[in-house]
């Protein structure tokens, strides 16, 4: 079997060193064209773990601390930073026997959804090099979509795993907030940050999550061990499971004349029918459109506010590149002026403005209120429904030349609903669901907190129904 198409299960029993060599060769081979990696590791280094991940090559997003290995967060301010400790997720993977192949490119400091703002250059979509793979976990998505590694680790604050997974035709899973420790993840917005994985099958996502989850005494927001094995419950019966989708976002009447969106929605509704045939019950529900329109501004207000504080440690004083100046203020200012790109500075300015005493009530506290309103609404729906099913995106991945900041209505709604999963800490997974113009389509499933097992279980049958498990960019699966 071709290495690039192998899932984790296919790789078990294979020689770990040979697998690493395959991964390493491919990583180098694709690097110039797609730019998935900040660092490619050329030395095979495996701890003899006794798990299903023993000997499996994987990639880590470059905002996850790896002791002794450069970790840049794709930012100039950390371009030479080598951590002194291991992130918990990396430690767990190391102990499981998984073999690190490289550290992947992200949007600078995980802020952004384009994969174009890393300090080492843009990441390209393996299905179409003129298009974005999305971000911020751009390199982790590309590495799995290209078949370099069967799984990779990313972080997700708004949709940073699930959106690039969707654009890349692979599975992206963001578990319940606190299921996977954030210790060692360079923070973007702590209350929304999640660690999760990219794979080419739902079952692989369960296998990886089984390894990386668990209580961590270094992370006060981490959940107590649930004692479950997600892989073992993945095939449970889903008959009668109830799902909803949001009418105000998926209604075709909203997108008259926009053929691409309409085609995406056609595929979505076709898939819903297929799911009904295998036993799911699916209904549209209505959510106040004003509330939905507030998703993106709310997300921006909270993330910018938290980010401006979280990244205040990047001063070049106790680590990083020391700035120049006559006094300490000037040195800090110089390091930060040179170290961050304009986009990042813009977010910091926004965040500071939002947190200012005179703006807190109107901007920051209102954003928190809206966050709660949305989460309350979804939780109410989750009393009746087992999950929310939505298209992962409404438009195909943007082309590099025509990406814009325009805030049109469809941009606000179809492209920005995934942050609901972060607002509520809900487990949420994107699965490839079809093709349009030779580019993968994707469906997203979001479930109740701490029911990651059920989400994976339902996603497993969806994947089976859609039939796009294990697709690799450029392969003959291109439909």
């Amino acid at each position: 079997m071709n290495y690039q198409k192998m899932t984790i299960m296919d790789m078990s029993e294979k020689d770990p060193e040979k697998l690493f060599k395959e991964a390493n060769t491919l990583a180098h081979q694709y690097q110039e064209e797609y730019n998935s990696f900040v660092t490619i590791l050329d030395t095979f280094d495996m701890t003899d773990g006794k798990t299903k991940l023993r000997g499996i090559p994987y990639a880590l997003k470059d905002n996850i601390a790896t002791k002794g290995i450069l970790t840049t967060a794709s930012s100039n301010i950390l371009k030479d930073y080598v951590p002194v400790f291991d992130a918990t997720v990396y430690k767990k993977l190391k102990e499981s026997g998984a073999v690190l192949v490289g550290k992947t490119v992200l949007d600078e400091l995980a802020m952004g959804g384009t994969g174009t703002t890393g300090h080492t250059g843009i990441v390209k979509n393996p299905w179409d090099k003129t298009r974005q793979i999305g971000g911020s976990s751009a390199g982790s998505a590309a590495a799995v979509a290209l078949g370099i590694v069967p799984f990779s680790i990313g972080s997700d604050t708004g949709d940073s795993i699930r959106k690039p997974a969707a654009y890349g035709g692979i599975v992206g899973f963001k578990p319940t907030y606190g299921l996977v420790s954030r210790y060692g993840l360079f923070p973007f917005a702590s209350s929304l940050d999640h660690v999760g994985c990219f794979t080419r099958s739902v079952k692989d996502a369960a296998i990886v999550t089984d390894i990386i989850k668990g209580y961590d005494e270094n992370d006060m927001t981490s959940l107590k061990d649930d004692g479950k094995c997600y892989e073992s419950t993945i095939e449970q019966d889903i008959h009668g499971r109830k799902l909803f989708y949001i009418k105000e976002i998926c209604d075709k009447n909203l997108y008259q004349g926009k053929s691409e969106i309409l085609s995406v929605l056609d595929s979505f509704y076709d898939n819903l029918k297929k799911l009904e045939e295998i036993g799911f019950e699916i209904e549209p529900v209505s959510i106040d459109k004003d509330l939905l329109m507030a998703l993106y501004p709310t997300y921006m207000a909270i993330t910018c506010a938290e980010a401006t504080s979280n990244d205040s440690n990047l001063t070049g004083i106790s680590f990083g590149i020391r700035g120049e100046g006559k006094n300490i203020q000037e040195m800090i200012m110089d390091a930060r002026t040179k170290g961050f790109s304009e986009l990042i500075k813009r977010r910091f300015v926004l965040g500071s403005y939002i947190l200012q005493r005179e703006n807190q009530e109107k901007l920051f506290l209102n954003a928190q209120r809206i966050r709660h309103m949305i989460v309350d609404k979804i939780n109410t729906l989750f009393q009746e429904f087992d999950g929310m099913i939505m298209p992962s995106f409404g438009s195909l991945p943007p082309k590099f030349e025509d990406s814009s900041d325009r805030l049109s209505e469809e941009y606000l709604l179809l492209e920005n609903h995934l942050c609901i999963g972060n607002f509520g800490g809900f487990p949420s997974i994107s699965i490839p669901s079809g093709f349009l113009n030779n580019l993968p389509l994707s469906i997203n499933l979001t479930g109740r907190c701490k029911e990651d097992d059920l989400v994976l279980n339902m996603a497993y049958y969806m994947e089976k129904t859609f039939g796009y498990q294990g697709i690799v960019a450029g392969g003959e699966d291109h439909v």
């Binding site: 996850i64 970790t71 950390l78 951590p83 205040s312 203020q329 200012q356």
Partner: protein, 473 residues
């Protein structure tokens, strides 16, 4: 005339094994940057883990301040850039601190006064900076050490009250072993707000803040010179500017630092990495049970129950160990006043002279009680008692054996003395005759003879009485 209105913010480092949000060791080290964890240096990806011991000690203090304790504790971030703050923010408590609306009773000039506590909250200390010619060095050892900030209402009206409050507060920390509260090590520091108002006014004047004053003497001096400065401005028809001033302890003056317009907006917001912490009611009850009787209460008890003077009572409660020594001495059976006298007039002086603590004292409360009882019974004189006490401390022997070994115990027994007196009369058959002939000083000679025979152990007054009786018989 003007009345001073003073508010204090007292920062005190709590005594814990590790830091407030990391596993870094919380201990003083003269070697810079040795008590550190990656969390203290704010490396990317670190997360705070709240120290339960720090919370416990903070809650204990909050309860001792009679504060309201919330059901749930929350933490917030205070954001500002400064090289002593590696995260770029300090984790503190704004919304639900460990305590609000409390009070502390103090004694000032023989009067009692209630100092109102606005709140007390748990936060983390910063790194320490040493400035040299054209460079500065950072020592992160102190960074992240648990700090309890206690904020009073503006209810203090003199430097004397301020210092009395600070001393009481420090004593409370020491009594509860929640801090060593040593000013010389920066473990207790104080921000002082001073404003003036006309005696009959109801509105507070403009306040001036002085930050980070590290000794009680300097607090006193800073308040006094600020009152003087502001009084002069107001007398001359001027107005006070709201500002932060720096107190210089070399020339004992305050200097402008920052105007109100330049005040930093700390952009407080909830710390997302520490979920709200529910306080278990049983746990809180157990913490409350651990609070010892505090100095103010003990002082009241000593005056009321034992009839001690405020002066002596205050001296006894200054240190918990001394108060406990005193109480144990009473438990062993000593009269409270006697015990107080011996401790305040003899033992405390000795401790001072030798620069040791009462814990290191050889003499136990039981031994002291025995000594007191020997004096009370008259088996030794109080002068001898003191000598025995010092010998006991010097030789590390209990007083009883010293008295025995040196044959010091007085003969107070009438029969025994009588026998010796008769012996002396037998040896000096002419004594009575001479006495009756008017040579009354022969009595002293006879007493001297008895003392000689008993090596000074015979009770002198009994001996004297018996000799006179015998002469006049």
């Amino acid at each position: 005339m003007y009345k001073a209105v003073i508010g204090l913010e007292v920062h005190c480092e709590l005594k814990t094994q590790s830091k407030n949000f990391s596993s870094g060791e919380n201990s003083y080290s003269r070697y810079p940057n040795t008590n550190l964890s990656p969390v203290d240096l704010a490396f990317p990806g670190i997360l705070p883990v709240l120290n339960k011991e720090g919370v416990k000690k903070a809650l204990k203090m909050s309860l001792a301040f009679h504060c309201d304790v919330p059901d749930v504790l929350t933490f917030d971030r205070k954001n500002y850039f400064y090289p002593d703050l590696p995260k770029g923010y300090q984790i503190t408590q704004i919304r639900k601190p460990v305590g609000t609306n409390g009070y502390v009773m103090i004694h000032v000039d023989g009067e009692e006064k209630k100092i109102l506590i606005h709140d007390t909250h748990l936060e983390e200390d910063t790194a320490s900076l040493d400035h040299f010619g054209n460079y500065s060095l950072i020592d992160y050892n102190r960074c992240g050490v648990p700090l309890l900030e206690t904020v009073t209402e503006p209810c203090i009206h003199s430097s004397k009250e301020a210092v009395a409050f600070l001393e009481t507060l420090r004593n409370m920390f020491l009594y509860m072993d929640t801090s060593d509260a040593r000013g010389d090590m920066g473990q207790i520091r104080c921000d002082v707000n001073v404003s003036l108002m006309k005696e009959d006014d109801t509105e507070l004047g403009t306040r001036v803040e002085m930050k980070n004053i590290n000794s009680f003497n300097n607090v006193k001096a800073a308040i006094e010179c600020e009152i003087k400065r502001q009084t002069e401005i107001l007398k001359n028809g001027g107005t006070i500017v709201q500002e932060t001033r720096r107190f210089d302890d070399v020339d004992m003056c305050t200097y402008p630092m920052r105007k109100k317009e330049d005040a930093i907006d700390y952009k407080y917001f909830p710390e997302p990495n520490i979920p709200p912490i529910k306080i278990d009611k049983d746990w809180l009850a157990r913490i409350e049970e651990e609070i010892p009787v505090l100095p103010y209460e003990r002082c009241q008890n000593y005056m009321k129950e034992y009839g001690l003077s405020r002066y002596d009572a205050t001296n006894l409660v200054k240190e918990k160990e001394i108060a406990e020594y005193f109480e144990q001495t009473i438990k062993e059976g000593s009269d409270p006043k006697m015990a107080s006298n011996w401790i305040t007039s003899v033992i405390l002086g000795y401790l001072n002279k030798e620069e040791i603590s009462i814990r290191e004292l050889f003499l136990t409360p039981k031994m002291l009680t025995e000594l007191i009882s020997m004096v009370e019974k008259g088996s030794i004189s109080s002068k001898q008692g003191k000598e025995v006490l010092f010998k006991s401390l010097e030789q590390e022997k209990d007083p009883k054996s010293i008295v025995q070994e040196e044959g010091l115990s007085q003969i107070g027994n009438d029969e025994e003395i009588k026998a010796i007196v008769m012996e002396v009369f037998g040896e000096n058959p002419k004594a009575k005759e001479q006495y009756l002939a008017g040579r009354t000083n022969i009595v002293d000679f006879m007493v001297g003879q008895v003392m000689k025979k008993t090596r000074g152990r015979a009770n002198p007054s009994i001996t004297m009485k018996m000799i006179k009786e015998e002469m006049e018989r």
